[in-house]
Amino acid sequence: MRKYASNGFYAYLRRDLLQSHRRLGEAASPLIFFVMASTLVPLGITPDPASLAEIASGIIWVFALLATMLSVGGLFAGDYQDGSLEQLLISPQLLVMPVLGKVTAHWLITGLPLTLVSPLLGLMLSLPEAGYLPMTASLVLGTACLSLLGAVGAALTVSLQKGGMLLALIVMPLYMPVIIFGAATVQYGIDGLAWTAPLAILGAMLAAAIALCPLAIASVLRLTSIN
C-alpha cells in the first residue's frame, strides 16, 4: 500500500506536468494575465513612480492571487469531465497523495512562474529595492498556500456546471490571511523591518495547509463529485 501511495504522487505530478507541457499556451495564460493585469494599474491610476512604489507590493500580490484563483478552477474539471476522477476515486491507492501531486503540479505551472516573473513587474512598478527579496520569498510560500486552498474550492465546485464564479466566492475569504501576511512581508522589507517574521507566519500557514488541505480535498471529492 505504501508503494502505491508514493507512486500516486509522482504519477499525477508527472501526468499533469506533461499535459500542460502539451498545451503550453493554456498553461501560460495565468502568467500572461498576471503581467497584463498588473500593467493596467499604472494606466488606470498613475504612472508616477513615487505613488506606484507605495502600492506596488499590494498590486503584485492582489494579481498573483487573482491569477491563481482563475487557474485553479481547472484543476479537477478536466479529470471530472473525462472520467479519470472517477477512476481515481475507485483506485486502491490513498486519495491524498494523487491530490497532493496534482496541487504540486498546479503550483509548478502557475505559482512558480508568477514568482519568477514578479521581479520584472516590481521593476515596472518601481518597487523599492529592499522589497525584491521579501516579495519573491513571500510569493514562493504564498502561491503554494493559494494553490492548496484554491484546490479545496475547486473540489467543492467540480461537479457544478457553472462553478467558476462560485469558486471565487468560496475561495476569496480563505485567501485573505495569505494576502495580508504576504503583502506585509514586502512592506516590512521596504520599511526596513524584520520581514522574516510575517514570512515565518506565511510558512506556518503553508505547513498547516499542506497537512490539512489534501485531506479536505480528498473527502470533498469522495462526498460530492460523483452523483
Binding site: L166, A184, Q187, L223
Partner: protein, 195 residues
C-alpha cells in the same frame, strides 16, 4: 442591538459548522436541516451587525466605515456565509449540496481564528491607534444592564428563528412522508416533531 447581533453572528457560524460536522460524521438528516436553517439567519445577523455598526459609527466616530480589525473580520464572516449559502443552492442534488456546504463551513471554522488574528495584526500594522474599539472605557451600569437584556433577548430570538426555519425545512424535505400529511391541519405539533 449591534453587540448581540455580532455575538450571535459568530456563534451562529460555529453552530452551523457543528451541525454540518454532525451531519457528515453521523449522517443525521436533521443536522443538515439545522445547518441549512442556520445559514440565512446567520448571514442576516452579520449584515445587521455591520449595518447598525455603520449607522452607529457615523455620529460617534465620524465615518460609516473604517478598516478596523473587527469590522473587517465581520465582513469576511459575511462572505463566508454567502459562500456556504451559494454552495448549498448550487447543487441540484440536495445531499451533495449539504455535504459540500458542511465541509466548507468546517474549513471556514478552521479559518475564522486565523482570519481574525491576521486581520487584527494587519490592522495594527497599517493604522496604529486611530480608534480603539477593544478597550472601551468600562461601561456604565445603566448601559450594561440593557445590553445584557438585549443579548439574552437576541439569543431567545435566535433559538426561535432557528426552530421556525428548521421546521419549514423539515416539512419541505419530508413532504412526501405520511406524517407530514397527518400534521397538516394540526400544525401545533410540528415543532415538537422537529425536535
Amino acid at each position: 442591538m449591534h453587540v448581540p447581533a455580532s455575538f450571535l453572528a459568530l456563534a451562529g457560524y460555529f453552530l452551523m459548522a457543528a451541525a454540518g460536522a454532525i451531519g457528515l460524521i453521523w449522517k443525521m438528516k436533521l443536522s443538515y436541516m439545522v445547518m441549512k436553517a442556520a445559514a440565512p439567519i446567520g448571514a442576516a445577523l452579520t449584515f445587521l451587525a455591520l449595518f447598525t455598526g455603520a449607522v452607529w459609527g457615523k455620529p460617534t466616530w465620524g465615518s460609516y466605515w473604517v478598516w478596523d480589525a473587527r469590522i473587517t473580520s465581520m465582513l469576511i464572516l459575511l462572505f463566508l456565509y454567502f459562500g456556504v449559502l451559494a454552495l448549498q443552492y448550487a447543487f441540484h442534488n440536495e445531499e451533495a449540496g449539504n455535504k459540500a456546504s458542511a465541509v466548507l463551513a468546517l474549513v471556514g471554522t478552521v479559518n475564522i481564528p486565523i482570519i481574525y488574528k491576521s486581520v487584527d495584526w494587519w490592522y495594527t500594522l497599517h493604522q496604529p491607534s486611530t480608534i480603539k474599539l477593544t478597550s472601551a472605557p468600562s461601561m456604565h451600569p445603566d448601559m450594561f444592564q440593557p445590553l445584557l437584556l438585549m443579548i439574552l433577548g437576541f439569543y431567545c430570538f435566535y433559538v426561535v428563528a432557528l426552530c421556525l426555519f428548521t421546521r419549514v425545512e423539515i416539512l419541505r424535505r419530508e413532504r412526501k412522508t405520511t406524517w407530514v400529511g397527518d400534521l397538516i391541519g394540526s400544525s401545533n405539533n410540528a415543532v415538537e416533531g422537529g425536535k
